[in-house]
Symmetry: C2
Subunit: 213 residues, 2 copies
DNA sequence: ATGTCTTTGTGAACGCGTGCACAAAGATGG
DNA sequence: CCATCTTTGTGCACGCGTTCACAAAGACAT
């Protein structure tokens, strides 16, 4: 029986072994003292806890470059996700196969959701279309939404939304890059600096509230 | 002079006002007691600290669906990023414009990096190509890499890598979705993972630290 | 069986980040 | 010029998560 100790796992993951054991203990007592954890059993238990053993049908709405990239992404299937349908507002896309799945028109959104028992939707539309699409998804029974559109979605209570902003990761890299350069970030305030930069803010001038780690 | 108080900002962001003030204080004393913070000045100072006022030339390697989606993503330009070049290994892509930028061949990678003074690279290639591309980027002087390929990259010290796994966000949604179903499987989970603050839409949510491969 | 050895599971201490509460600073009005 | 009011900046205390350290549990050898 192949096993691993918490010490080995902790070293591999770069975390503290006691924390790892305590985390595992929340899932139950799956280890054997003096031996460690049965690898296969542990993987199954964690997978189950995380919901990876279930089959999650998802729909992707907005089959542009990003939607197509997501449809082709191999990581989904191996993580328990099944692309139940691709949906786009462009009639010219209808029937066209992307990643082997025929694109369907937005008109049929509600029926597609209900027929497939979909509870997770991915929005990869342009910003303007995101909220209406979101509303229709929710009305059709979707309770979790992954939003790639650059908009903050408004949803009723009980619906989860996660927003993916592809530029945030770049910002974090740039932040560290800036520090590598040895930029001084001291307390000296450039006089009247604010008045030298009148514009600078785009349509969404929102700044991350928290410093990247 | 338009101003905001820490109280207003905290309410808008859903955080504690004292924490917000303390965070700001690390950047310097930019507020006026009895008045608040000069909006324009504050935006500038935060932008500067985060590196948003600098111009960061980036290259995107691998112009498939995802690379094209990134090239077309409007959020980059408004955050201080400039797509200096698109690079692909397919000779048929060479010269073809994507998002108004002609795709260049991988052969010229080193020259492109050096000519444009690029220090940030984005990898959107298939998994197999990612590490070789990464090595060439690093050798050419890139010190920050954003990796969309489903591979863990090995880099020398001093080089930052951030890996974006598009399925992780879906996993988090599925995790919460599973809990909504009210399933009882005998185990408990640390409170941090148990719920997501409503209104929070981002990748800063809570995920269990250990994922099965 | 009995003892030794390994590793888990967890109580307790520690450290750090968060939030409270208030003095200091500046605005504003009399 | 003084009084009052608002809001910042921050010392301090509290709470929570991380880490330490060890008893308990089981494997394994003799």
């Amino acid at each position: 029986m192949p096993t691993v100790s918490s010490e080995e796992l902790a070293a591999a993951a770069g975390v503290n072994s006691a924390k790892l054991r305590k985390d595992f203990s929340y899932l139950g007592s799956y280890g054997t003292r003096g031996v460690g954890y049965d690898v296969e059993y542990l993987v199954y238990q964690i997978s189950r806890e995380l919901g990876l053993t279930q089959d999650w049908p998802v729909v992707i709405v907005g089959i542009g470059n990003l939607g197509a990239a997501l449809a082709n992404y191999g990581g989904f299937a191996s993580r328990g996700f099944r692309v139940a349908a691709l949906i786009d507002a462009d009639p010219a896309m209808a029937g066209k196969p992307v990643a082997g799945i025929p694109v369907q028109h937005t008109d049929d959104l509600e029926k597609i959701i209900q027929d497939n028992g979909v509870s997770i939707g991915v929005i990869a539309t342009p910003a303007g279309a995101a909220q209406p699409v979101c509303d229709r998804l929710v009305a059709a029974g979707v309770t979790s939404i992954l939003n790639f559109a650059p908009t903050v979605l408004t949803v009723p209570d009980g619906v989860d939304v996660r927003k993916v902003d592809l530029s945030i990761e770049l910002q974090i890299l740039a932040f560290h890059e800036q520090r590598k350069a040895g930029e001084d970030h001291g307390g000296t305030v450039p006089p009247a600096a604010a008045h030298q930069e009148p514009g600078e803010q785009g349509p969404d001038g929102d700044v991350p509230a928290v410093m990247p780690a």
